[in-house]
């Protein structure tokens, strides 16, 4: 129950999105005045949703919010701002074409605008920024400082930071933490959303751990250990087990050597990753999203430039080769965003079923005419084989449910008779039945001797399907192991940034962790 020093109290918050996804299942969340409060959890735990509700961007389906003991209903972010609550998003809400100064004063009435005060604020908080530089010319760390300053200038005293260190360099991260401690000294309350254990332990006073839309626990950071937090964050009931024969791996089919890939922002997203996927095995990549998995997949499938290193497909160097060539060699790609990369939603099921293989003689005639008969037969085969519920081959892909759309993508990719299958988040957003189906297909492919690279943010999935699993953190592999050889605790620690060498023996190396 809330006490006197409680500044934020959220009671029994439930959030169901319009598409039926339940993000929060009755969350109680309490923050004390003047503390740095960590909000820890995996992807989809509901951290960001909860904070979007607190900052007025989303409305809860049910539940109550009290700020300084008073009940509030926010209709917009600007209303929350008036109550002193400001959120710094991962994608910063700045106008790139404006200067830092213009961004800070945007929307304020003229009489409040005082450049001297902003400069004073920069002095007292230590948030140094070039006021007259254009935001688009500034590195991410500085942009973030502008955003924080913008909030502070609006008298925000409850500052929410959503994964603020994701795009920061280690030095910038250190500076950010310095700032946060400084702000705390000035009486500000800070809520820090993260999945990084090290950061939680370093900078917060208390932590609330969320898992699948529920609060798992609230702990004082001084009494917390990384193992404890990792287990709280990851530990979960197992939904179902998949039957799977022992793998009989053969030749290495896909080999990646010291791969370096840049992110959209220009920094390194993948930092020297090496691994091999053998025929007849599923190689899984686990980790919290945004740690370079997407960029890695794009580099392997020819969609993103490899800056350094090699991708070798069946003994041939295919680094930076165009996707079409890779596909011809037998690479299939089930992309992470089926609606953007997997399908053309307004085209028909039949048209989508031959995307990428439409140039085959089977589907195209001498006058570049589409052979609709063959295409329709092909589409019908996929529909039958993958039990896709579709109104017909001429129905637009858009009219299919998410699960059936994904089956269509999978069906098309597998109809290419691939040697290697790269599957990124193959079951995201699917219901239980479709999920199970897709997982079984992947195992079947492996049993047929194909090499499967599986990238998924769903830990259950990666651990159950993979024969070997790598855990990725900030563009590097923290370790590669057989899933059964790892404890949940160890996986949680690696997802939070600890290298496997550091925790070979978890019970006895607590000292090592504390020292690092």
């Amino acid at each position: 129950m809330p006490r006197n020093d409680t500044i934020v109290y959220m009671k029994d918050i439930v959030k169901v999105y319009p598409d039926g996804t339940v993000a929060l299942r009755g969350v109680d969340f309490e923050v004390k005045k003047g503390e740095i409060h960590g909000l820890l959890g995996e992807n989809g735990a509901g951290k960001t949703t909860l904070m979007k509700i607190l900052s007025g961007l989303l409305r809860p389906t049910s539940g109550e919010i009290y700020i300084r003991g008073r009940k509030v209903h926010f209709k917009s972010a600007s209303e929350a701002l008036k109550h002193g609550i400001g959120m710094v998003h991962q994608h910063l809400a700045l106008v790139p074409a404006f200067t830092a100064y213009e961004n800070i004063i945007l929307g304020l009435p003229g009489k409040v605008i005082d450049r001297k005060k902003i400069e004073e604020l920069m002095e007292t908080t230590g948030l140094k920024i070039p006021l007259d530089a254009k935001v688009e010319d500034l590195p991410f760390g500085v942009r973030q400082r502008i955003e924080i300053l913008k909030m502070l200038y609006r008298n925000v005293d409850i500052l929410i930071l959503d994964e603020p260190t994701t795009n920061l360099t280690p030095i910038e991260t250190k500076e950010l933490f310095e700032t946060l401690r400084n702000l705390k000294k000035q009486g500000k309350t800070i809520i820090f959303i993260t999945h990084k254990l090290r950061e939680v332990l370093e900078v917060t006073d208390r932590v609330t751990v969320l898992r699948r839309g529920r609060v798992v626990g609230v702990v004082e950071t001084s009494k917390a250990t990384p193992e404890m937090l990792a287990k709280m964050m990851v530990g979960r009931e197992v939904v179902f087990r998949i039957e799977k024969k022992p793998a009989r791996p053969g030749e290495p089919v896909l080999v990646v050597k010291d791969l370096w890939v840049r992110s959209d922002l220009g920094g390194w997203a993948v930092k020297g990753v090496s691994f091999a996927v053998y025929s007849g095995e599923i190689f899984g990549i686990a980790g919290v999203e945004g740690n370079g998995q997407s960029e890695l997949v794009e580099a392997i499938t020819g969609l993103r430039r490899v800056e350094k290193g090699q991708v070798i497909l069946m003994g041939r160097d295919v680094t930076n080769k165009p996707p079409s060539e890779l596909y011809r060699m037998g690479l299939s790609h089930i992309p992470e965003d089926r609606q953007k990369l997997g399908l053309v939603l307004d085209m028909t099921v039949a048209e989508n079923s031959v995307l990428g293989i439409h140039r085959l003689k089977k589907f195209i005639g001498k006058l570049l005419n589409m052979k609709w008969k063959n295409i329709n037969v092909h589409a019908k085969k996929i529909i039958e084989r993958f039990e896709i519920v579709a109104p017909g081959v001429r129905a637009p892909a858009r009219s299919l449910s998410g699960g059936n759309q994904q089956k269509l993508v999978v069906g098309r990719e597998l109809s290419k008779t691939p040697v290697v299958i790269v599957a990124a988040q193959p079951t995201r957003g699917l219901d239980v039945a479709a999920t199970e189906y897709i997982r079984k297909i992947l195992i079947k492919m492996r049993d047929e001797g194909k090499a499967v690279l599986l990238v998924s943010a769903d830990l259950d999935e990666v651990l159950q399907l993979s024969d070997r699993v790598a855990i990725m953190y900030e563009g590097e592999f923290m370790g590669i192991a057989k899933p059964e050889e790892l404890t949940e605790e160890q996986i949680g620690l690696m997802m939070g940034g600890y290298h496997m060498d550091q925790l070979k023996n978890t019970s006895s190396n607590r000292k090592v962790l504390e020292a690092s």
């Binding site: 700045l94 106008v95 074409a97 304020l108």
Partner: protein, 301 residues
């Protein structure tokens, strides 16, 4: 005065007229597009406002009433366009297209209905905006210069301008800090259309002193090109408009020279200003930088 000097002054005077409607419409559209609203209906607004200006100026026998009527007509259409695009999240191009088609039909019919003539009507002298004596240019030319400078000041030196530009660049960021995105867009669309309306009135009861359904003769579209040419900056629009106006006048002047008239058909010569527009704007493609969120409806999550 020598003959050459007269000739040069003539061309400059002509330029001052030719540039005025282009710049008025372009400066207005710059404000609208800075707020994210594209209005390709400038041509239609000019036509409708030109028509209304003649009707009201003649009725009151006062050109200034006509000018106000033109501005009012533009503002009204801006209000509709702004409501459709900002509040109903409608497609900017379709709405603009609708304005153009509506104007064509309405004015062709209106000329016949009001004056009982087919296609062309000249208002009486009393309904025409007088020339500033001495320098012999239109008072609306001066007004245009003042509006351009004022708009520049509004966009770049005031907090209102900051809001307008923020809404066109990143409406989400503006929304979060409490800027009313839709209202800002609506008012900007009204401002833009009102200036296009003023341009229309200038055509019908000042410069050309006539109303036909071909009154704007593509000037609305050239104004759109000018917005791009000026990189969404009113001051550059002033310079660019002067350049376009100069070409226009020069072409008019050349085609009336007896020697050239004999060789090149007048209809071909009439295309010069349009070709010049394409040439200038084509050279600029890719170099200008539109507001990041222009022409797209802003929808909250």
């Amino acid at each position: 005065m020598t003959e050459e000097l007269v000739m040069i002054l003539d061309i400059l005077r002509g330029t001052s007229y030719a540039m005025t409607p282009l710049i008025l419409a372009a400066v207005g559209e710059i404000v609208a597009e800075r707020a994210g609203i594209v209005n390709i209906g400038l041509e239609g607004i000019m036509l409708l406002s030109g028509f209304m200006a003649v009707v009201f100026a003649e009725m009151a026998m006062n050109p200034w009433i006509g000018v106000l009527a033109g501005i009012g007509m533009g503002a009204l259409i801006g209000l509709i366009h702004g409501y459709i695009t900002a509040y109903l999240k409608g497609d900017h191009i379709i709405s603009g297209l609708g304005i153009n088609l509506f104007a064509l039909g309405t004015v062709a019919f209106g000329i016949e209905a009001v004056w009982g003539v087919r296609g062309y009507y000249t208002p009486p002298l009393e309904a025409k905006v007088p020339i500033i004596p001495g320098i012999e240019i239109s008072p609306l030319f001066i007004v245009m210069i003042l509006i351009t400078i004022g708009t520049y000041y509004l966009l770049y030196k005031t907090s209102i301008g900051l809001k307008i530009r923020a809404v066109g660049e990143n409406p989400e960021a503006a929304d979060v800090v409490g800027v009313n995105v839709e209202l800002t867009q609506l008012l900007s669309a009204v401002y833009g259309a009102a200036l296009a309306g003023l341009a229309g009135a200038f055509l019908s009861i000042d410069w050309l002193a006539a109303i036909t359904k071909e009154l704007p003769a593509g000037r609305g579209f050239i104004a759109l090109a000018l917005v791009n040419f000026a990189n969404w900056n009113p001051i550059l629009a002033l310079g660019g408009g002067a350049l376009f106006g100069f070409f226009w006048t020069l072409a008019e002047w050349i085609k009336n020279m007896a020697a050239i008239k004999a060789i090149i058909p007048v209809t071909l010569m009439n295309t010069i200003p349009y070709i010049a527009t394409i040439a200038v704007v084509a050279g600029l493609i890719g170099r200008s930088r539109p507001p990041a969120h222009v022409g797209r409806p802003y929808k909250r999550e």
